[in-house]
């Protein structure tokens, strides 16, 4: 497979940049850009014009990732030419958070095939139940097909995000690519680096991915308490304290949940994914170093699974919360990943509002939060 990448900083320079890519006869285009870029008209047309036959997929971000590090306000376009792998496009309208599972089902049916090997999926970052979406897809394609991807971002505003699919750009569509073929090599890894602290709090009232109360106290109050003056920055500041999901026996499930939004009236938190109604939650914190080490671990996992770094594409979907914590040093995690994956991997990716990846090799796919999720693709 052949990969070529461009970074466009100004939307109006897109056309020129695209020419650089034109020479590659890519059959897949991964497009990750800031809101500014995705909102600019003509993006899709331009892409379509340049690559009439390629499949277009991508989404708006809360930060763009390339081999150089992390950018804001840019648009990364990665063109890939798959030689032995067949691709199938899928796209569905998400009518609301409750439609998440069904949307996943629909999507799954669109891309399912006999020798489906992997799926890339990107969905809106707000008004969505990410774990339900993944479950919906899994219900159609089965648990053996790894699904990776993520929820689009909007630079931390948590208002409106966009995805790019076969039907163009929209703020309420879920898009996916199904990759089939024996030649495809696939590796993934996901790691957080956050550490839990404080008491385990009982989930006393929740609704799927809406957390109403912990230990009988409105969940929002806890955040307010812990954030103090930073509570002003909710919901974004809530990313500083994701929740670790614990089972009934207080043992860690291994998943982290962050908020996508808050409901002031009810004092509830809208989480990116569902939590266990009988379980416990524990606040987590992280330091930059820990997060960078976490990214490194993820990269090592992905590499170990992939076992072929040459000429591979690495899609990094990291979490906006990490960016918030690491601040300026956010590049360090990308660098760490780059070091692990080798110089010949082309890195692309974005900072999302929820990462989609198998939990561990062979396990079902989950929505992750606050993690560095890496998917390595190559062909034999």
């Amino acid at each position: 497979m052949r990969i070529k990448q461009i970074i466009n900083r100004k939307p109006n320079e897109l056309g020129a940049k695209l020419d650089d890519l034109q020479s590659s006869d890519a059959n897949l285009l991964l497009v990750f850009g800031s809101i500014e870029h995705f909102c600019s008209p003509g993006l899709h047309d331009a892409l379509r014009a340049t690559f009439p036959d390629a499949l277009l997929i991508g989404c708006s971000t809360a930060g763009e990732i390339t081999n150089d590090g992390v950018d804001d306000g840019s648009c990364t376009i990665t063109a890939i030419k798959f030689e032995k792998t067949s691709l199938k496009h899928g796209s569905t309208h998400l009518s609301g958070m409750d439609d998440s599972f069904s949307a996943g089902e629909r999507l799954g049916k669109q891309i399912v095939s006999a020798d489906l090997k992997a799926i890339l999926v990107f969905g809106p970052g707000v008004n969505i139940n990410g774990s339900a979406l993944v479950n919906g897809i899994t219900s159609v394609v089965g648990v053996d097909v790894p699904i990776t991807g993520g929820l689009a971002g909007d630079g931390g505003a948590f208002k409106k995000t966009y995805t790019l699919g076969p039907n163009g750009i929209a703020d309420d569509q879920v898009v996916a690519i199904g990759l089939s073929g024996e030649a495809l090599r696939f590796g993934h890894g996901s790691f957080g680096g956050w550490e839990p602290f404080g008491p385990a709090r009982k989930v006393t009232r929740c609704d799927g991915n809406i957390l109403h109360e912990l230990d009988g106290e409105p969940a929002l109050e806890i955040y307010r308490r812990y954030l103090g003056e930073h509570a002003k920055g909710l919901p974004a500041s809530g990313l500083l304290f994701p929740f670790a999901m614990l089972g009934e026996d207080h043992s860690a499930v291994g998943l982290i949940r962050t908020i996508l939004g808050i409901d002031e009236s009810t004092g509830s938190l809208i989480l990116a994914g569902e939590i266990n109604a009988d379980g416990y939650l524990r606040l987590m914190h992280a330091s930059t170093d820990k997060l960078v080490n976490g990214a490194e671990s993820a990269a090592e996992s992905a590499a170990a699974m992939h076992q072929s770094a040459d000429g591979s594409l690495a899609i990094l979907v990291s979490c906006v919360g990490r960016k918030l914590v690491m601040g300026n040093r956010v590049d360090e995690e990308v660098e760490a990943v780059g070091e692990v994956l080798g110089q010949t991997s082309v890195l692309t990716g974005f900072y999302s509002y929820g990462e989609i990846s198998p939990f561990m090799p062979g396990a079902s796919c989950k929505l992750h939060n606050q993690t560095m999720t890496i998917t390595c693709l190559s062909e034999n």
């Binding site: 602290f197 404080g198 008491p199 812990y226 103090g228 500083l240 914190h285």
Partner: protein
């Protein structure tokens, strides 16, 4: 800009404020344009660099602040949590303690773990399991209770009432038995089932008892809804509240209606039994197995003249005297041990002093398990009975005495009457043997026949008396029946012949000859019947037919029938004819004479011989008198007087006008295996001979035939034929003179009718055995009955007789017959003579003699014979005694035979001849 950074800038770069910094940066930027290339980036980027550093500081501060805050908050939270837990734990511990105490208190006081310190260490799990155990046990107990309650409900009628009697609970059985539904019972007062049968005090007492908190038990009669009464056995238990006062009552009842009913029935029955025992007119008593009276009836009281209260509970020793009681005590003991029944007689005194003969009938009473519970006795007063028994005994003795007196009288009478009669008849006989004028003979004959008639009458009267006294007895001796019949018929045949009537005898050949019975009585009957037949027949014939009816195991029933062609007896008289004193009518008596006793005597005799007598008669045609008697077969003792000569195939002609006789003779000849042929007249016989069909070995002629009699026929035959077979004449009238006529007529033999089979056989035998003179000593002597028997020799006889007339009679007869006679006046003289010279052939011993009677004398003679081993001299008693006993006495004394007085000449002769013949 972060203060820290500012401070550092100040310290390191001398920048005092942000304004200064801005100025510196501006300067640096300006300188960058002209600076060294290596410094250019640095100068240009310094501001950016500071900004980044500031950012970082800011971030770090933020992070730190957040972290610190986090730490504080979470610490606080944890502390709070901890405190909460501590309090919670404390609460829990309290709760646990409280639980432990509760659990301990729940244990019964007796439980070993009931202790203040128990469970101190048990944690909640252990306590929990303990509680679970307790609950389980409680549950078990509850289940147990439920089961018991269920069982109770099955059996018992249960109700619960409050203190005022309102029904709070009624189980199913209560509803069933009372007939009310549960709804009808609950809330109602218990008195709805009152039957009204109990007095108010019972309920008052019940309420009192249960109000005090005690249990009341009793039997109550209740009324069901439909009015029926039922009985229950009730137990009412008060249920106490915490203060110990009854707040409810539970009544548990069982239905005893059946039992009550049975009790009532039993009570009735018991009462009935008591009534029965009282009603029984015999004294009845019951004793326990200690011999004490437990029950007596009215009759007992009356019998012993006591009040039962005095005796109940006591033994018989209290009732009877010291002498009487021990028997009963002993009998009681035996009965109780043997468990059976007892009957015995006892004599007891009643309290009024009277003595009673009683029969005690007792039975042991046993319980179901077989053990003895007592005895029942019934006393039957037999005092009267005993008295009656005594009287009967006395009466019997009196009767026997009377009877004996009667016998003695009869015996005496017999002797007194016979003795003179003996004299009369005997002397008359003797007189007739002397030479008399015709007139004297005629007169003496009349005397004799009168005397004989009188004797017959006397005998009849004596016999009748014996019958009345019940003393008429029959003998059982062996005799020859054939000879008896033949002999008695001869004199009767003569009488019949005088009236012109044939007297015939037919003895069927299966009739046994030697039998045991009373020949004299049989003779008496036959003579009576045939005599009557002759008396009441004027013409025709009289046939005696003897046949065997039945023979079994030596017992024969012989049937005699006397058929005559006489005047007959009217029907109405036939029934009476065997009764005493009734003749056909008094005119018969006048016409024919007789006492009228004969047939009744015959009947009695026949009955005594185990037979019966009856008659068939047709007035004007004739009568047939029948009688049957039982005879035992006897072995023959006397030699047959017949002949050994066989008459087989001898052809014999019978000539007789009488059909019956012809038949009889033909049968006899056939029996003798001869070949008879008969003709009914002399003419017929002559015809036979004329025709040449006369190949006979012998001819039997009847003397009396119409037209030509036997003599005439014989003479005619002899005249007309040679080589005639020998002829025998049979005649109804056998007179000595006939013998001569026979000889003249050329007749070989003469016999009087009826002829017996033996006589016929003997006579024919003599004819055929070659020598015509085998039997008799004289040549060609006529064969007559007389000649058959005329051997006798002179005997040496001792006559023992005290009565002069009898002496004269006997001496006369014996002398006439050529015997040598020695006379003794009495038994003593006889003994003396015997001692002196005992060489006699015969002793004739009278019975009643002075000094020594015949019995004694005979006994003594026999004794002497034994002692001295003298030969046995035949002694014949001459007795007037009528009784069999006396005859037995004679024989027992040692006599060989007896003659009854008045002495029959022939009889005497017969006996003498026998004695003579046997010597």
């Amino acid at each position: 800009m972060q203060k820290a950074l500012l401070r550092q800038l100040k310290r390191s770069l001398g920048v005092g404020s942000e304004a200064d910094l801005a100025e510196l940066l501006g300067t640096m930027r300006t300188a960058a344009a002209t600076a060294d290339p290596s410094l250019r980036t640095a100068l240009e980027g310094f501001g950016d660099f500071l900004a980044r550093v500031d950012n970082s500081y800011e971030q770090y501060e933020r992070d730190l602040e957040l972290r610190t805050r986090s730490l504080e908050i979470s610490s606080a939270e944890l502390s709070e949590s901890n405190e909460k837990l501590r309090l919670s734990l404390a609460d829990r511990e309290n709760a646990l303690r409280s639980l432990r105490m509760t659990v301990r208190d729940l244990l019964p006081d007796s439980h070993p773990d009931h202790h203040a310190d128990t469970f101190a260490d048990e944690d909640i799990a252990e306590l929990s399991s303990r509680i679970a155990l307790m609950v389980a046990e409680s549950e078990r107990g509850r289940r147990e209770l439920a089961t018991q309650k269920f069982a109770l409900d099955q059996h018992a009628i249960v109700s619960i009432t409050d203190t005022s009697g309102t029904i709070l609970y009624a189980n199913d059985r209560f509803c069933d038995i009372s007939g009310y539904t549960r709804e009808e019972l609950l809330g109602r007062n218990h008195r709805i089932i009152n039957s009204g049968k109990h007095p108010a005090e019972m309920f008052r007492e019940m309420w009192q008892t249960i109000s005090l908190g005690q249990v009341w038990r009793g039997e109550v009669c209740n009324r069901a809804r439909n009015g029926n009464l039922y009985w229950v056995n009730a137990t009412i238990v008060p249920l106490l509240n915490a203060a110990g006062e009854p707040e409810r009552h539970i009544a548990i009842r069982t239905d005893i209606t059946d039992r009550k009913r049975i009790e009532a029935q039993l009570s009735e029955q018991l009462h009935l039994v008591e009534e029965l025992i009282e009603a029984i007119p015999l004294p009845v008593y019951l004793k326990d197995n200690g011999g004490r009276y437990i029950r007596l009836n009215r009759a007992f009281e009356q019998f012993f003249h006591i009040d039962r209260k005095a005796i109940l509970g006591q033994t018989v020793s209290k009732l009877l005297t010291r002498e009487e009681a021990p028997l009963h005590l002993q009998k009681d003991a035996e009965l109780l041990a043997s468990k059976g029944m007892q009957t015995y007689e006892a004599s007891v005194h009643s309290r009024d002093g009277a003595i009673h003969d009683t029969v005690y009938r007792k039975a042991a009473l046993t319980r179901r398990d077989g053990s003895v519970s007592g005895l029942l006795g019934v006393i039957v007063d037999i005092t009267e009975r005993k008295r009656a028994e005594h009287e009967v005994l006395r009466a019997k003795e009196a009767a026997e005495a009377a009877s004996r007196a009667k016998s003695d009288f009869l015996a005496n009478m017999s002797h007194e009457i016979r003795t003179p009669m003996n004299g009369v008849i005997g002397m008359t006989d003797l007189a007739l043997e002397t030479a008399l004028t015709g007139e004297q003979r005629e007169y003496l004959n009349i005397v004799k026949s009168s005397a004989e008639s009188l004797l017959t009458i006397i005998n009849d009267i004596l016999d009748f008396s014996k019958i009345e006294a019940g003393k008429l007895l029959v003998e059982e001796i062996s005799f020859d029946l054939y000879r008896l019949i033949a002999e008695l018929l001869k004199p009767l045949a003569l009488r019949a012949h005088e009236k012109g009537i044939e007297l015939l005898s037919e003895v069927l050949h299966d009739v046994p000859r030697y039998v045991q019975g009373d020949p004299n009585r049989i003779r008496q009957i036959l003579i009576n019947l045939i005599g009557n037949a002759i008396k009441f027949t004027n013409e025709g014939e009289i046939v005696l037919r003897t046949e065997l009816l039945q023979l079994q195991d030596g017992h024969a029933i012989v049937h005699f029938a006397v058929r005559d062609t006489g005047i007959g007896i009217p029907q109405d008289k036939q029934d009476l004819i065997f009764d005493a004193f009734s003749q056909e009518d008094t005119s018969t008596t006048r016409k024919y004479g007789g006492t009228g006793l004969g047939l009744s005597i015959c009947r009695r005799l026949v009955e005594l011989m185990g037979g019966r007598i009856w008659l068939h008669s047709q007035p004007g045609q004739g009568s047939t008198f029948h009688f049957s008697i039982q005879l035992q077969l006897a072995t023959q003792s006397t030699p047959i007087l017949g002949s050994q000569v066989t008459l087989e195939n001898r052809r014999i002609l019978v000539v007789d006008d009488n059909a019956t006789n012809r038949r009889i003779l033909s049968n006899m000849l056939t029996l003798l295996k001869a070949i008879p042929q008969d003709v009914d007249s002399a003419q017929a016989a002559l015809s036979l001979f004329k025709n040449g069909n006369a190949d006979f070995d012998c001819i039997l002629l009847d003397a009396q035939m119409p037209q030509m009699d036997g003599y005439e026929l014989a003479r005619t035959l002899h005249a007309t034929h040679d080589n005639l077979p020998p002829m025998l004449m049979l005649s109804s009238g056998a007179l000595r003179g006939d013998a001569k006529r026979c000889q003249e007529a050329g007749i070989a033999g003469f016999f009087a009718k009826p002829i017996s089979l033996d006589e016929l056989h003997a006579a024919l035998g003599r004819l055929f055995d070659g020598s015509h003179s085998a039997v008799t000593q004289h040549a060609k002597q006529l064969v007559t009955r007389h000649s058959l028997r005329e051997e006798h020799r002179a005997l040496n006889i001792l006559l023992v007789e005290d009565h002069p007339t009898n002496q004269k009679l006997a001496l006369g007869l014996l002398g006439k017959w050529g015997h040598e006679v020695t006379l003794a006046q009495n038994g003593q003289e006889a003994l003396d003579i015997f001692d002196a010279s005992g060489d006699f052939d015969l002793i004739l011993m009278d019975m009643q003699m002075p000094v020594m009677g015949g019995i004694e004398a005979t006994q003594l003679i026999r004794k002497r014979e034994t002692e001295r081993q003298l030969p046995h001299i035949p002694i014949i008693a001459m007795t007037a005694a009528a009784m069999q006993d006396d005859r037995d006495a004679c024989l027992a004394a040692g006599m060989d035979d007896y003659l009854s007085k008045p002495i029959r000449v022939k009889e005497l002769q017969e006996k003498l001849r026998r004695i003579g013949g046997s010597l």
